[in-house]
């Protein structure tokens, strides 16, 4: 957060804006929300398209089944609730009625990770990427800012099949444009030759800040935004690693099951490379301010810098 002039908005508002535009463009798009319309920024859609908005009450399991039914009949349902209630709470409903049944449902999940803040660990899910990426055929996307979240929301309506779209609560710097997003296509944020940092979600910004600091130490860090964790952009990842020969992964998620885990799998098969992972290490979160929490749990800018130094030392 070193640049005070950069505009900040929450990624969930990017979702709300994208959903509203989709509503205008595509009459098959419908939205379901489990009593969190304001939190998910779905109000504009609800007000403009009341017949296509379904208030589900506090009943997420039914919401997932309803979404599967709407998709069966040809609609493109977007479900909205917190990431915890979008995944862990309803895993079996998603597995059977949506993933195995290959329904065109878009699972849209806000308040993911530690940056949810003061509500604490009950709500700070750090396992959702892992849960969702394990499901056969599920696309998993974790955009990094408002613009990318808006673009991703609109892009997934054009893709047929189940998608998990993960975003968050805090106001966060805006540093991408809406045109640069393509499902499954890694986004080069910064060139560098000594180390490649693969980052997703809010941690992309931290990685860019880390790269700036590393430059002052004479280290040239490449930053690549992996917004789509599944399917992974294998080619872009391998191309980058061939030249830098060491890797940092950064994400607001458990180390087990996250982006770093997917990248390690890819590299161990194709191009064994030292990897340092910036992620939560087998722990639940707690109450606090988003930035305090990222620092305490090892996801701050300083942690990305230290991970880059360790990765380079292992080359």
């Amino acid at each position: 957060m070193t640049n005070p002039t950069i505009e900040k908005k929450d990624t969930r508002s990017g979702f709300g804006a994208g959903l509203y535009e989709l509503g205008l463009q595509n009459k098959d798009v419908v939205a379901l929300c489990a009593d969190l319309t304001g939190s998910l920024k779905m109000n504009a859609f609800q007000e403009e398209f009341p017949k296509r908005f379904f208030q589900m009450g506090i009943a997420e399991a039914n919401m997932m089944g309803m979404a599967a039914g709407l998709a069966t009949a040809g609609k493109i349902p977007f479900t909205g609730t917190f990431a915890n209630f979008s995944t862990g709470r309803v895993y079996d409903q998603i597995r059977q009625s949506i993933a195995y049944s290959h329904k065109n449902v878009k699972l849209c999940a806000s308040h993911a990770g530690l940056t949810l803040g003061e509500d604490g660990a009950t709500h700070q899910i750090l396992e959702d990427i892992g849960l969702m990426k394990m499901l056969p055929g599920m696309v998993v996307i974790n955009p990094c800012d408002y613009n990318q979240t808006k673009a991703a929301t609109m892009a997934i309506a054009e893709y047929y099949g189940p998608v998990y779209l993960r975003f968050g609560r805090p106001k966060w710097p805006i540093f991408t444009d809406t045109k640069s997003f393509q499902i499954g296509k890694a986004l080069h944020m910064r060139e560098g030759k000594d180390v490649t940092i693969f980052a997703t979600g809010h941690l992309v910004w931290n990685s860019l800040e880390a790269a700036k600091a590393l430059e002052e130490q004479g280290i040239s860090a490449e930053v690549i935004n992996i917004h789509t964790i599944k399917p992974l952009d294998n080619e872009a990842i391998l191309d980058a690693v061939v030249s830098t020969k060491c890797v940092v992964t950064a994400e607001e998620h458990q180390m087990n099951g996250g982006l770093g885990d997917s990248i390690c799998q890819l590299l161990s098969k194709n191009l064994p490379t030292p990897v340092e992972m910036v992620a939560v290490n087998d722990s639940f979160g707690e109450s606090g301010k988003p930035i305090e929490l990222l620092d305490k749990y090892g996801l701050g800018v300083k942690d990305v810098i230290a991970a880059a130094q360790r990765a380079i030392a292992r080359k």
Binding site: L70, G74, Q96, S97
Partner: protein
Amino acid sequence: MKKTSSELKNQVNQTRRDIVRMVHEVQSGHPGGSLGCAEFFTVLFQNILRHNSDEFNMSANNEDVFILSNGHISPVYYSALAHSGYFNVSELNTFRKLNTRLQGHPTTHEGLPGVRIASGSLGQGLSVAAGISQAKKLDNDNKLVYVLMGDGELQEGQIWEAVMYAAHNKLDNIIATVDVNGRQIDGDTKDIMGFTELKSKFEAFNWNVISMDGNDIDDVQETLYKAGMLSGNGKPICILMQTEMGNGVDFMMGSHKWHGIPPNDEQLASALVQNPSTIGDY
């Protein structure tokens, strides 16, 4: 072309033969609940559903839909689908075998015509039906959404989320049948998790509730017609269908034990003698 009562009875007999032969062949599957629902499936698929089984259309626009929530009674479902033209009856012989479209529990994954959702993990079908119901209302499609659940299955909490939703949103194009056979895997439902008085429970949620004898083919037909007439009146419709698990095969009746075990050769022979061939085996 509607089937006559005697044609329906012949079909029920054939479906019972299909069920026991299918589970015997692979020595696995669920004959008890399947047999108890043979009349219901036969009447529904032969005489009630307004559907196009020649050209299966997943989205079911302008067609009635049937969702099986208690997917373990797949044998009776597959027999009903085959005999109403969704696929060739000879395919029943592949039930539960490697590379089959007739998986142990129904799925869309292998592309079997007639199946619109996977089921097996219980409690999810009514929610799916609610979604299809909402889509039909959005599209001004006045066809109906039928769903079958087991009585034991009502122990799943998601069912009651959907019961609540359907009533609140006046999903009066849903006809949800509960197979009240009083049995579940570990014993009788009244002993496992006794919650009697289903009628008052559904009525308390503001559903329209009717009852039928699920093993009386004429009552099934009359009640399903009646349910159709009750649709469009602001309330979802629940049919409490009393059945006997294992109906039509004497040694499978009167107990929960035949929920999920296959007959041996001798038992198969006995079941087939009790249900002589009518329209020919697959």
